[in-house]
């Protein structure tokens, strides 16, 4: 029923042997998978309220405020823009299984989470992600935190909904490499999924691409990050940030640096496309970005303004991953308007990009401030096991986790030895 590519299969096999032999993991025996029932959650994720009609609605402190034109932009106490919610707990939970399941790729080797790893800010630590072929794909993996609030997806803004976005990587030859027919065939052959889809979509008697993407959207729209230290400051507890961080905030929003003009609080994005002229990695051709999406030369080199929430977790930065850390990314803006445009390119650089002439110390302070936007308190749980029986996220990840667990165990044992040694003396 599940077709394995031989190397991945070998890897998976070695992983299973590895984990079982060391007995470090409480994972169930995968061969007995079909006997254990997967129960979808009946409760909403944290921060969501279960409504009478059985759907989950988001609640957050920014509901106490309003905003010009309802666009959710601008100051500290500003309401958020419209967002996606209203999915049932079962749809959200099914989405969670699907998101972490490598069965969604052509050869069961990678899942959505391979490039959007929860412990890496729902991104990866690569300049450009590696897809099913083992080669790097076109652009870096954007974070999925707070995607519920976005109305444009992909770096080049070519999708308007999460559902539309989902089919991109699923069926891209270099990413997950699947086809709709093959994906449906795979999932239909897993009785657990048939049952789970039945619970999540009681009005539909078969698994459809629409329901797959809806579940993925349901899950992703619960990735909410709005309780950082910055947020405590925004809600009025000014001691949440230290002096340096407040200085950084003020530089960030000053009209010298102008960061906050595009990365507008509270989401730290304005949901727009901007041409800022960031470089490509060496040897790569110029990426035209949103020029293609809008069929407009003036959008050449334009990309979506990314959110800065959990930005400290998602290095390297920009569409090409060309900047290794936050200091480098911040410095890019200080180096002057259009300084990285390749020869021969004529770009309509956004008017907010200029030459702010910030001091080194000020750049450091901005970086310090950006750390205060980290909040992963609502990180969803990884499923312990998957209906497909495959390792959660992918085999590589499982291998790393197993190694990590062993190391931890060894360290623990060592420390016990040392402690007991001390006692002997």
């Amino acid at each position: 029923m599940i077709i394995f590519n031989p190397t991945r299969l070998a890897l998976l096999f070695s992983f299973v042997v590895f984990t079982l032999s060391f007995n470090v993991n409480a994972e169930p025996d995968l061969t007995h998978n079909s006997d254990s029932a997967f129960k979808l959650k009946q409760t909403c994720p944290a921060s969501f309220e279960l409504m009478e009609n059985g759907t989950c609605e988001l609640r957050n402190m920014y509901q106490f405020y309003n905003s010009v034109q309802g666009r959710g932009l601008g100051g500290t106490q500003t309401s958020l823009p419209k967002h996606r919610d209203g999915f049932t707990p079962a749809q959200i939970d099914l989405g969670r299984y699907l998101f972490f399941d490598p069965a969604l790729s052509k050869d069961n080797s990678i899942s959505c989470a391979s490039c959007h790893q929860p412990d890496k800010g729902f991104s990866d630590d690569l300049d450009r992600s590696i897809g099913i072929t083992g080669e790097k794909v076109g652009r870096s993996a954007p974070t999925l935190w707070n995607v519920a609030f976005l109305d444009k997806f992909f770096w080049d803004a070519r999708a308007d909904t999460l559902e539309e976005q989902a089919v991109g990587p699923l069926f891209d030859a270099k990413e997950m490499g699947n086809s709709p027919e093959h994906l449906l065939k795979t999932l239909n052959a897993i009785p657990q999924y048939l049952a789970m889809f039945n619970v999540a979509f009681p009005n539909s008697d078969e698994i459809t691409i629409t329901n797959i993407t809806k579940s993925l959207a349901a899950f992703q729209s619960t990735l909410i990050s709005l309780n950082s230290r910055y947020d405590r400051y925004a809600h009025g507890y000014h001691e949440a940030l230290n002096e340096n961080e407040i200085k950084g905030l003020n530089i960030f929003r000053s009209f010298v640096a102008r960061c906050a003009e595009c990365h507008q609080p509270p989401l730290f994005t304005n949901n727009q496309v901007a041409v800022i002229g960031t470089p490509e990695a060496e040897g790569l051709p110029f990426d035209i970005g949103a020029e293609k999406t809008f069929n407009n030369k003036k959008n050449r080199g334009g990309f979506k303004v990314p959110t800065l929430r959990n930005i400290a977790k998602t290095a390297p930065y920009m569409h090409s991953g060309a900047m290794k850390d936050l200091r480098e990314a911040t410095e890019f803006y200080n180096k002057g308007r259009g300084h990285a445009i390749p020869e021969g390119e004529d770009l309509l650089i956004h008017w907010h990009i200029w030459e702010p002439d910030l001091q080194d110390k000020e750049l450091d302070l901005i970086v310090e401030f950006l750390q205060t936007l980290t909040d992963e308190s609502l990180t969803p749980q990884l499923p312990k096991r998957l209906p497909s029986g495959l390792p959660v996220i992918d085999a590589d990840y499982a291998m790393q986790q197993a190694k990590h667990n062993i190391q931890q165990k060894q360290q623990k044992q060592q420390s016990i030895h040392t402690e007991s040694g001390d006692e002997d003396e």
């Binding site: 666009r71 309509l348 200029w354």
Partner: protein, 502 residues
Amino acid sequence: MSKGKILGAVLIAGAFAAGSYWGGLNSAAVITSSSGGASFSGGYDASKDAELGADTVVIEEMKGEVRVVNDGESIMAAVKAANPGDTIQVMPGTYHETVYVDKENISIVGVIKEGARATMDGKGVLNDAVLYSGNNFLIENMKITGYKGNGIMGQAGNNFIIRNNLIVDTGVYGIFPQLGKNGIVDHNIISGIEDAAIYVGMSDNIQVSYNDVFESVAGIEIENSRHAIVESNYVHNNTGGILAFVTPGLPIKTTYDVIIRNNFVVDNNHKNFAIPGSTVGMIPAGSGIVIWAGDDVIVEGNIITNNKTAGILIAGHNDFGKGSNDPESEPNSDRTMILDNFMMNNGHDTIDEVKALLLTELKTGNADIINAGSGVDSCIINRHRYVTAGINGWKECDFTNTKDIKTYLLDKPVPPRVIDKSESGKIAYLGVCTGCHTYTDRMIGPPVNIIQALYMDNPEGIAEYIAKPTKKREDYPEMPPQDYLDEETRLAVAKYMLSRKN
């Protein structure tokens, strides 16, 4: 505009120029008396503003403490110590600091003694002088100079008043309220600004009046904003005088319902010294009033003289400048309405583009009103008074004045969003607490059912604890204080927590 474009414009317009010449210009002038007649009835009805809601609660006038800041002390320290409702009086002296106000209902009042003002001096090093994000912010009587960024910048604060300030040689914008609703900018004197002396950005319900703005690139700019009145200002020797713009690429996409009336717009011939890449960098020196993709803009009763390019320039994104890369912003200036204005000696040293447009109508005079755009449904009265190009298709306005629109300001301040008090506990619980606590399981903090057992009938105890938590359990991290929630919300959240059953 490229030479090709100009040539194209000449050829296309030439095809109908003769017709309009004989059909329009030679007929007797239609003289409309503006002393009587109908008043403008369109525009904005505040009572129907959906964002305000029907049952809004008026903010209570808060009378707080007065905190005096003397020369040598810090304004920022006073703001930090202030509570909502407080007034900070700044005595004459020189203050070298950036002041940010992330609080509601704060007033900063400069005290002027025998003409000496409280002066904020950025010494060419500091970024912005004043940043405010709270609602109901007032700042008056200050002198601001030598900052690299803005004099006074607002970030989504509603109900602001910025008046009687003297702002000179200060960076990018003099006064820059952004993303705010219901605000007044009046009686300020501003000069020497690299972009706009007064820049109202992405805002609603604004009054800009009695300001003296000069020697800046743009005098007064209403950008991506609605329901704004610019009146009785003295706007002189800027590159461009008064602008009503839709700048593309911003998250809020429209400018409409703008009344520009009774201003002096004179001698705006200053060399353009804008920062490279800025939108105003394209404005030709000598532009009195510029309407760029703004809709429903009324120009009435202004004295517009000696602006060397043109008195009033109307264009769209595709006609003037680098154009737009924003598919969501409508590029044309629609429904421009020009009522009586006193215009003289404009366009005496104009640019080639304007000359070309005049030529299409076989005119060579000094340009008062130039429309280079293709917007629709515009109108004008007494067009015979002016030298014009591109307005032959405009109809006669069916009103002559805007007397009936006294202001676009709201009768009541914009209230903070009203949340049903019974909801505030729930929202705080779900929005914040559930990040660390579940009902039965250990997460970052202890389970809610354990907390319930400890505090049973004592929500006050929880409310008190969460404001100033202390470490209680060895195996749990210390809880961060929740004192950004007001007392009422802390109690509400405690009660809600105790009422949970799952």
